[in-house]
Amino acid sequence: MENLNNLWLSSGLAQLELAQLFMMAIGFGLLFLAIRRGFEPLLLVPIGFGTLLANIPGAGFDAAPVYDAMGHLASPGGLLYYIYEAGIATGMFPLIIFMGVGAMTDFGPLLANPKTLLLGAAAQVGIFTTVLGAVTLGHFGILDFSIRDAASIGIIGGADGPTAIFVTSKLSPELLGAVAVAAYSYMALVPIIQPPIMRALTTEAERQITMVQLRSVSTAEKIVFPLTLLVLVALLLPDAAPLLGMFCFGNLMRECGVVNRLSDTTQNALINIVTIFLGLGVGSKMSADKFLNWETLGILGLGAVAFCIGTAAGVLMAKLMNRFVKTPINPLIGAAGVSAVPMAARVANKVGLEANPQNFLLMHAMGPNVAGVIGSAVAAGVMISLVSGM
């Protein structure tokens, strides 16, 4: 009888709290968005499922291992605990993903038109105005945000998942779930968020601007570019070196042409394995006590604002640049500066085609698109460095 009672007490139903039920509903919501709506499924399926696992009462997925007084392992930790500690707390997983993203990135369009880098810079305005919004909410006691939290929330506007996870795991690990979910959700919502802003800030004539075809870029240029970028990072901004260093390494493996087997594995088996575990590890931070509070609503709201401002800043920067350059830039490609590769570039192309059915902007938008990845990695480095010293 006692056993039956123990069994009941150890059952999920007896231990279930309303909060966990709510978190499981959120996990199912993420899976629904990922599977039926196609919201960044590669990350949101593992994050959603990790949310379910982390909130099974009594399953101990995120339990730490217990050692006895002699230092022997009395009870091993849960799967998600090990994944989080080994891969996310150390920063390893986001950096390996960044290496894989580098190996998948073609810098050709950017090299053909390097001034589009400025569009990638402008779109980072979204990050920093959001930081300002978060500290304002924190300052007036509306929500409980520190400067570290504000930086983590701002980076959502970078529209780059691994960057957001890297920064948040260093500055505000307890916000990791909310920040990652916001980042990937809004990246998936780019086709809905961006077009109205892009149309509002441009005239029909501007949207019809046709851009000259990009020059072809030699392999030698593509090989030397990641090394150039690395040197600049090393000289000017070592705080951004972890993210951009691994990014450049992946890209060099891709372009150098002599390590194709390493590049293939980086783009496939390795990034897939790490993506699965990164998602599960992020999900392990989706616990009720960290997620079910007003701060999460604040994060979601501020994240949306960050995307909007970033989009607007990219478009406006393009319009500003048109005052100085000879060959005009279609301001729609400025919106691609938020990164969200390649979704934002496709959105720019689509809105451009609406205005002029012969105007294919996709390749032109890929330049600011990858520039946005560099831009937000730079912003990440600056913020980690400055905030750690505050």
Partner: protein, 80 residues
């Protein structure tokens, strides 16, 4: 830290956005200079050579399974 949270945020925005713009502006010029230099030192013919090497070695990489698949495809095709 006697600075308020808002001061910290303003600082972060100022120095952060400044760094992003300075860095990417420097990168625009560095990239331009790099491209110019590379195209002078290693004109397209050289680069094309490199790309050919690339292709060759990537062909080498087509692994056994794929070779088997090719043979099978040809055999099956002939049979029909």
């Amino acid at each position: 830290m006697q600075t308020t949270l808002i001061d910290q945020g303003l600082n972060l925005m100022l120095y952060g956005m400044g760094t992003v713009f300075v860095f990417l502006t420097v990168l625009v010029f560095a990239t331009g200079a790099m491209s110019a230099m590379v195209r002078r030192l290693a004109p397209e013919s050289d680069a094309a050579l490199l790309r050919d090497n690339d292709k060759a070695s990537s062909n080498d990489n087509i692994d056994e399974k794929v070779r088997a698949a090719i043979k099978l495809a040809i055999t099956e095709h002939r049979r029909r």
